[in-house]
Structure formats: C-alpha cells, structure tokens
Symmetry: C3
Subunit: 338 residues, 3 copies
C-alpha cells in the first residue's frame, strides 16, 4: 500500500503569496468564481461572516484597496473597523506592536494590514489570534493583488499554466511586480520583466523570471501587465528615468506595441499618457475594470478561506478535494433575506 | 376615443432638479412623507435596499450632506462605501473617469457624487450602470437640497402652488439657490431673489424668478430662504461685499425684517450674526432643523425612487397614479426585525 | 409600615462618572460581564439595538475611543454615524450648538461626544432628545474610561471595595485620573496620586484621595495605574518636568518598583520607556489589553443601559433590583442569526 500524502493544512495568514501552494491558489480562485456568481443576484449580500469582525489597519492611504476589503467584508455580512494612520494613535507615537495588541484585544477574526515597512503584517500576526492579511508592505508583497491578477488572467485566458505575462515599468519600487512574479511561478506561468536598467532590481532573475530592457520583448507575451510610474521617479534630481518624454518613447504601452489577441492589465491608478496610452487603456484589450471587480470577489474569497475553510487534516483519499469542491456550492446557496 | 397619454418613464439619474417633472417631484415628496412616518417607530430600519450598495464619491468635504446620504442608505439597509478625495486615489492624480470606472466595477446600485466641477456627476453617469445622484457640482445643481427644501415648505405651508419664496444673499455662488429657483418653478411656486447687485448673476431672471436688491422685498414672501455667506466673499481684496458690517446692515435677516407668519429657512451651516440673526435662527419661525430632518427622509425617498420604483411604461388610465399611491403604503409595512 | 425607598431613576446621560451612584455602576459592570460572555460565541452580534442610531461626534482625534464605541454599537446591531471635526461643518465655523441641533434632527438614540472643551457634552445634551455619552471633555471627565478601569480591576482583583489604586504620572492634564479617582470613591476603593509636584493639581485631595510625590508610595497599592506622559510636557520651555531622563529616574514604573501581586494598568497609548518600562508593559502583571477588551464590553453595556434599561419608577420592594438582575440573562439569550 502506498503512503498516503495528506494535504498540508491551509495557512492561518496571508502574508506573502508564497504562503500558498498551487492547490491553495486554485481553491481561492475557485471560491472567488463562485462568489462572483452570487454578485449577479438581486440581493448581493451573503450571511457567511455574520457576527465576525474584520479590522483594517492602514498605515498608507489607499482608497482602492481599503474600499475593496471593506466592501468584501460587508458583502459577507462581517462588521468592519478601519483604522488609518492619520488621526489614529499611530500619530501619538504608539508602536506598531502596541497598536496590534490593542486591536487584537477586540478579538477580531481577520486583521488586514497595509504598512510602508516590510514585515509589518508579519509582526502584527505575532500579537493577535486573528488571521492576518497583508494588504501591501513596503516593496515586499501584495498577495491579494497577485491573486486578483491571476483570477483576471484565468478568466480572460482560460488557463494559467504555460502562459507568459510581460510586466512593464517600475519593477524596482513595485511590490505588485514581486508578488505577481512569484504567483505566476506557483501556477506554472512565466514572467518576463521589461524595464529600463535603472528600474530593474539586481538579481531579480532569482525569483524565476526573464528580464529584458527592450519593449519589443512584450510581443512574446499573452498578457502585458503595465506598472504604475510614480511622478517622483522621473528627473530631475535623483531620478531613475531621465524624462517623462524619454520614458514614454521607450516604454509606454501604446497601441502600436500591443499585438492582436494580447490583453493589457494595470493595477491602477493609471497615469494615462505616461506608462499607458489612453487608447490602450480604453481598448477592448484592457482588463483594468475586470481587475477591480476581481479584487472584490478575490478578497471575499480570501476572507472566506481564512475564516470558514477548515484545513483538511485527516481526510482519506480524495476527500479533501471533494470537500473543497463542495464549498463553492454551499456559497451559492440561499442569500440572506430579512 | 381620446389619445392615451402615458406617463414618461422616471429618469434613471438625479443630476439636476430639471430631470424631474411635477409628478416626479410629488411622488418623491409623498414617498418621503411615508418614510418619515416609519421613523417614529421603535425600530427605524427598513429592509427595502438590503443587499444593495450605495457608493458616495465626495470630492468636496461636506459632513452634513454625506452623513445624510449615508444614514439614508443605512436606514434602508443598503451597504455604503464612502470615498473622499482626501486620502483617495484622487490624490494620486487619477482622472475622474478612471475613478468612476473603478467604482463602477464594484457594480453599485447608486453612486452619489459631489464635485467642485460642473457636470462631474453627469460624467460619472456615462461610465457606470448605477443610478447617479448629484450631491452638488460646482455652482450648478444640488437637487436633493432643492427637494428637501420643497418638502420642508410643503409640510410647513400645506401646499406649494402659488407660494412665494424670497431667497436672500449670495445667489452668485450658490447652487442651492439655482436648484431651488428651478424646483419652485416646477411645482408652481414663485422665487424672488434678494441680494446686493454684486451677488446677483446676470440674466438670472431667465430661470423664471423675480429679482430685487432691496431687503424690504422679502415682506411679500411666504418663506424667507437665507443663503450662507462665505467669509472669503467679504472684503478686503476681491470682495463681493465691502464689509461684514455693511452686509449685515443691508441684508441680514433680523427679527425686524421677518413678518408674523413667515417661515425662515437656511441650508446650513449658519453664520449666526452674519446672514442670519441668532434671534431669528432660534425662533419658532426657523425651519432649519426641519430641513435637516427632511434631508434624511427625502434622500431615503430618492434612493428608493431610483432603485425600487419602476418606471410606469404601459399602464392604462390612472394605473400609474394608483401604483404610485400604493408604493408609500408598501413602505409603511412591517419593519425589519431580526 | 416603614417608608418605601424607591430607587432613583437611572440618569438619561453619562456626562460625568458622578452621574452614577454605586448601584448604577454595579449594574453597568454586571451588564458588561454578561455581554462579555456573549463575545465568546461564534456569532458575536446581538440584535439588541437594531434600528437604533448612535452618532459619534469627535472633535478630538482618538481612534482608540472612537473605534471602541463604533464597534460596541455595531456588536449591538445599531447603525452608526461618525462625525469628526476634520472635514466636517465644524471647519466651516459652525457652532457646537448648531452642529448638535443638526445631528439631533436625525433623531439619534445616543450621541457620543468628545471635545477639547469642558462641558461640551453637557451642552450637546441640552439640544438633543438623545442620550449623551461624554467620551472625554478637556481635562474634565472621561466616564467610560473610568468604568472600563473599574471593570478591569474587578475582574482582576475580585472585588473593588477597600482596594487601593495608585495613579502615577501627569495627573494635572488627565481627565482619566480625575474620573477614575471619583469612580473609585463611588465603589468604596481608595485612590493614591503619585506625581511630581508640578503635575499635581492644587486641592486635588478634595476629590477624596491621598497624594504623594514619592514613587515608593505605590508599594501600598493593589493596582498601579500609569498615566500617559505627553512629550510636550517635558522640557525645555514651559515644561512641567525638567527632562525625560529625570522623569524616568524618579517616576517611571519599572520592574523594581512593582511588587509581586500588584497589577499594572495604563489607558494607552503607552510611551514605552517613558512612564512605563517595556518589561512592565509586557509582563503578566500588565492589564493593558484587558482594559481595551473591557472598553468594548463596558461601552456596549453603557449603550444598552441608556437605551434599553428603563428607569424603575414605581416598583414595590426589591422589584427594581430583581429586574436589574434579570437584564443580563436576557442579554445572554439567542444571538441574531440571519
């Protein structure tokens, strides 16, 4: 009799996309798709997390990400509490540790943390019994962004394995790029980074991607992922790029550079006319609003996965898989009606 | 057999008070009254918009209006998401179009938009499948303010037709004045604008109102509507008014200038001692808190009207009217109890 | 037949800890304990205040206190509306009276008010039919903080009567200290203030406490309550304390100064290394996170007590007490399930 290989328990936190293996990613994306189906209903609210509390602790302003997490929690009937650095105890010099301990005392089910310092969400995870979700830490990780990008790609391209995604622009300052490269690796897709030499971190190939400084290289990709270029990166002074005009000429994603059949993505907010040509942004190839919509269902799925999904510990052959298959159908059950 | 004249379908958006005809206005005010009756109950919440999402997109700070919309949505059991310019992607230079597209991707049922630029809510309406409500755009329109003012007037005066409202003060910078003048015209009431010449826009009579620079003219009105005077309008520099003292002497609404039987309104926040004398503000003639309360029920009614009220398309004689009459009684049905 | 002594009606507001007598305090703490038990459930939400509205009016930023009130209201299923001075009509110069009247027009059930001026919540109480809770006014009162401190002490020490609490640090600027001294008096416990002479208000003994400038005096206490030292109080300039180094040497609560069996409290946010040694803050003696957790259940209890608890007006012997005893058991009934 061959050895039974049990699935590893699902991780308690989502601190890095590397916390997930391929089956974790697929389970979350499948859950997101099931949740997406419930959003077409008249009543979009599900009772799944009723009586649960989600705390959002944001040390960087990001309406886009915060709104997405808040709405995801509300759609699942959770209560939310959002603490931003402006106007919070943070301003009184309280340490992250004490803020974490304070919020943990409310006994939340999930804490979503965004912070300019690498590792801040992991630190919070040490001081709370809640599930912690990293919503962006410094240049490090943004795992729910990577998941929503995978979701968008899968919905658009049909499958992820063997696909190539060209990631174009300011890779150096981008946690989005870092998380996405790793996420593509997990699902068997390829990442190709395209950027000026000054915006490519040294040794980035170690993450398992190819690198090019020639925008023409994007022609080989199924999807072109355009990174946001921050104004302050462009000259004069300590600039990484000589000028806006030069960056545009060499690296902007323009209609001429996008082949028929390629899709274009951007994490937003876009600088139209800088890293992306408005004609591309408004074309049928652009999946930008699909990404926003994916952000909602993927974050719902992550909350659901952490709070409700039980790690499968001593199932027999295939039972874990069957249970996972059943979860989405449970999700599509009767919505909450008063 | 005479031609059947079918009611026009109710508009999908509330961008300008001019989107409404008299029957639309009356339907909204009747709905507001029915909703008002439910607020006297022990449990004030109605399940009407459960599972619906209302997004508030505010590019101007206005606690008063934002709170009113948020509370209106919550009382109807809708989920709310409020995005303000401070701390939002707006600060990263994202265009209104892209912000609209992003928020529209969440598939909200209603988007409430306040913006310093004229036409911004109409622009948002182009990029979303949601119903859009203008909560103030530049000097242009503030239709829910006009509706709550009509509601307050009707509750106080019994009927609107044939009544005269004197609107006093900074007409030039006031979207409140512009919307109210048009609203009064829709219901067959008269508007009289009273202001210094520098605060009267040229050609304002074209809206269908009378104009006077003499405060004594308010004696003819059933209601005196006092506009807020912004400090920055008063000298020195590019002032529209030589001094606070002079403005007060000539145009402040004082007890001496209010006749017995007249009511006094103000959109708030009041500058006590500038455009309105504190003795007037605190008198029984003042309807200022009635206006705030009206704001809540009228905004509930507007949300209800847009989301739930079906445009009557092929009804026979009178059926549309009957259906409308029935709606409020449906609203007064059993409140939500857990 | 002896005269029947009826219990006084419970106060309509919580403006000062002195609004409460001993039986009021005990009722609130007992309710808080019952509510605390419900928080261990899978579904933490109670339907108690469904359809009620709690308005939070905060003129001082305090994420800690505001979050606690918001979450308390949500756990009881109330709707919340939070108005902060930044971005509110307050910025347009509206008076507190008019803001109170405006918010009162929404007919909230409770208004929670925090303001830098002494007496502001009492002023608000004049203009609203809502129950008003003082969430901190100037250097005056912070009654829910005092109640949560009593709750934490009672849970830790078993009983309050006869206990001694040493309150250490900046008594002069602390409404927390003032409220706590009075609260301890109400329940028959002793307060001992320990601070440099410059941080002890003259005549503070009149509140019914002992005073010492010697840190050694804390050895007599059952609990050591460490106050927050604000950086701006420490030299140079108009300093109350010559230097941080000197303050630490003379008054910091260090492991050497805490006896076995003593507990240590702090209202937060802590300045680790200033008024409290990190080794004390992280020790088993520290009840800081217990205080945060207590803040939630005590605020739930205060909201419950004001809104639901009926003042007992014409009960016979003991009936009031019995009714009070029954309330908590009602609270522990079936939680809300959709």
């Amino acid at each position: 009799m061959s050895e039974l290989r049990l699935p590893a328990p699902a991780p308690r936190h989502l601190l890095s996309i590397r916390d997930l293996d391929r089956s974790d990613v697929e389970r979350v994306l499948d859950t997101a798709r099931s949740l997406g189906a419930t959003l077409d209903r008249e009543v979009k609210k599900l009772p799944t997390l009723r009586g649960k509390t989600v705390v959002n602790l944001f040390y960087e302003s990001s309406t886009r990400t915060l709104s997405s997490f808040e709405l995801a929690a509300k759609r699942l009937s959770a209560d939310t509490m959002s603490v931003r650095s402006a106007g919070s105890s943070v301003d009184k010099g309280e340490s992250l540790k004490d803020t974490a301990l304070t919020l943990a005392a409310y006994d939340p089910d999930v804490m979503v943390v965004r912070h300019p310092s690498i590792g801040a969400p992991a630190l919070v995870a040490q001081y709370t019994g809640a599930h912690v979700v990293n919503a962006g830490d410094g240049k490090h990780q943004h795992p729910t962004q990577a998941l929503l990008d995978l979701y968008t790609l899968r919905e658009s391209l049909g499958r992820l394995e063997g696909r190539t995604v060209a990631i174009v622009g300011d890779v150096l300052h981008s946690r989005v790029a870092r998380s996405l490269v790793q996420a593509l690796g997990i699902v068997g897709a390829h990442a190709l980074l395209v950027a000026p030499p000054t915006l490519l971190p040294r040794g980035i190939e170690a993450l398992g991607c190819e690198v090019s400084t020639d925008i023409g290289a994007i022609g080989d990709a199924d999807a072109i992922y355009v990174l946001r270029m921050q104004a302050e990166r462009m000259g004069p002074g300590e600039a990484f790029v000589p000028s806006l005009r030069e960056y545009r000429a060499l690296y902007a994603v323009t209609p001429e550079r996008v082949l028929s059949g390629q899709v274009v993505m951007h994490p937003g907010p876009m600088n139209r006319g800088v890293e992306i040509d408005p004609r591309v942004a408004d074309s049928a190839a652009a999946l930008v609003t699909d990404q926003v919509r994916a952000g909602l269902v993927v974050r719902m799925a992550v909350l659901y996965d952490l709070v409700v999904q039980r790690p499968v510990r001593d199932s027999g052959q295939g039972e874990g898989a069957r249970e996972n298959r059943e979860v989405p159908s449970a999700l599509t059950g009767a919505p909450e009606v008063a």
